[in-house]
Amino acid sequence: MIEVNNISKSFGDTQILFDVSAKFETGKVNLIIGASGQGKSVLTKCIVGLHEVDQGHVMYDNRDFSAMVRKDRKEIRKEIGMLFQGSALFDSLTVLENVMFPLKMFTKMSKEEQIERANFCLERVDIINKNNLLPAETSGGMQKRIAIARAIAMNPKYLFCDEPNSGLDPRTSIMIDQLIQEITYEYNMTTIVITHDMNSVLEIGDHIVFINQGKNWWQGDNNQIMRTDNKEVIEFVYASGFMRNLREKIING
């Protein structure tokens, strides 16, 4: 489980996060949603340590990550997998080398074992016979799946996904969502997904945290978000006429 307790973060004179607290449970797909510029990405970067928090604590299974020195953080980071918005695959490495990279850096596996593990992860995300391609030679959806394969290569306890559906067609988006949900349950990971995609919110949101004006404005699950009367959540999630109609139909049975 990941807990954030009373986190605040400023850049210069601009305060982005105000006393944010939330719990992200193991074995669940936890979503962080909110409009652009409200602090979702900053919150995630604070959780993974790319930004230092000004105050508050980030706890990974009761281990205070924010109070750790770099060397100790390194141990926790080996338990983290992250899927970036732009996939962040290494341009100069092939698909197979990308997935093997964390294994090569942090395990004592032989090269054959690394290849076997990388192939297993690639097959798990349905990437077959693409080992020798460079990331630039694959499609956007494939790059996301390769990045997921790299993220799960080390058998992480925590998985972070930064807008995994951005730039993808609806069918591929659903496929990526399902994949994230499946591997979360399969490996019993603590998964945190930042998303704008309302389909993801309704489909895979076991626990949803709505960030607004740098605060934890609302939290609940995908059933509760359908029936909430929180004005800001309704304005954000049900912004389109279609979604408003859908909500009314659900509420009215």
């Binding site: 993974v48 340590g49 790319l50 953080r73 390194k74 141990e75 980071r77 080996k78 983290i80 992250m82 970036f84 918005q85 732009g86 962040a88 695959l89 290494f90 341009d91 990279f101 964390p102 090569k104 850096m105 942090f106 972070f160």
Partner: protein, 248 residues
């Protein structure tokens, strides 16, 4: 950001550069790859430039020597001294700063804006050490060998230009090249020493500008330009300081 803040951040970065690599096997693999990419792949350009640079030095020297009291072998002597002391180490370093410096800054800068560096950090990799140490070490250690090749080709270029223009015979040119060599040979060590300093400056400064790129593709281009400008200025300043310290 002020000049002094850049200097401070540069030295803090160097501390991370020279920390122990996460995996020595991966480090050596990258070290040899970078040696090929940065050093070996620069040899054709350097060879071409050096040959013609040597030819031009010879012709320029010969055309400016009007006194009949100066023997013809002086041309060879001057070509040797200018090539070894300044043209090969300094001019070639400036050209390498343009070629390699922009390449390094744009490579690392692109990794920064596409979150590849964040991905390294999240995995627990010391991204500064992983990306920069192989580049800096391979250039600092092997750049002098490239400069030796440049010196040799420059002197061959000087011979070719002089002999084909009937400025002197091969024997006269060789006599000039050997003249006062016992006394002047220490200049070679000075040149190779400063080449190591230039190699370090080019890769570390370019890596610095690439690593701290913020924004998108426009900023990557800007970092690349800044890296070349800053490396060139640093080379010229270091050249002046080293010349003062060693030769004066």
């Amino acid at each position: 950001m002020s000049f002094f803040e850049h200097i401070g951040r540069f030295f803090i970065m160097l501390k991370s550069v020279f920390s122990k690599p996460d995996r020595s096997k991966v480090f050596w693999e990258r070290f040899f790859n970078e040696t090929v990419t940065i050093v070996i792949n620069s040899i054709p350009l350097i060879a071409f430039l050096s040959f013609f640079m040597g030819g031009v030095i010879t012709i320029q020297t010969a055309s400016n020597m009007e006194s009949p009291l100066l023997p013809a072998y002086t041309i060879g002597y001057i070509t040797r001294q200018s090539t070894i002391l300044e043209f090969s180490p300094t001019i070639i370093s400036l050209i390498i700063a343009g070629k390699v410096g922009s390449n390094i800054a744009s490579e690392i800068g692109t990794m920064r804006v596409t979150e590849q560096i964040d991905a390294l950090e999240i995995m627990g990799v010391n991204s500064i050490g992983y990306l920069m140490l192989p580049k800096i070490l391979s250039t600092t250690l092997f750049f002098p060998f490239v400069i030796v090749i440049s010196m040799v080709l420059s002197l061959i270029g000087g011979w070719f230009a002089g002999v084909t223009s009937n400025l002197y015979s091969t024997e006269t040119y060789l006599l000039g090249l050997r003249y006062f060599w016992e006394k002047d040979s220490s200049g070679l060590y000075y040149a190779l020493g400063k080449t190591m300093v230039f190699g370090f400056l080019i890769t570390s400064i370019s890596s610095y500008y690439g690593y701290y790129t913020k924004g998108g593709s426009l900023e990557v281009g800007r970092s690349s330009t800044n890296a070349v400008v800053a490396s060139s200025v640093a080379i010229l300043l270091a050249n002046y300081v080293l010349t003062q310290l060693v030769l004066v």
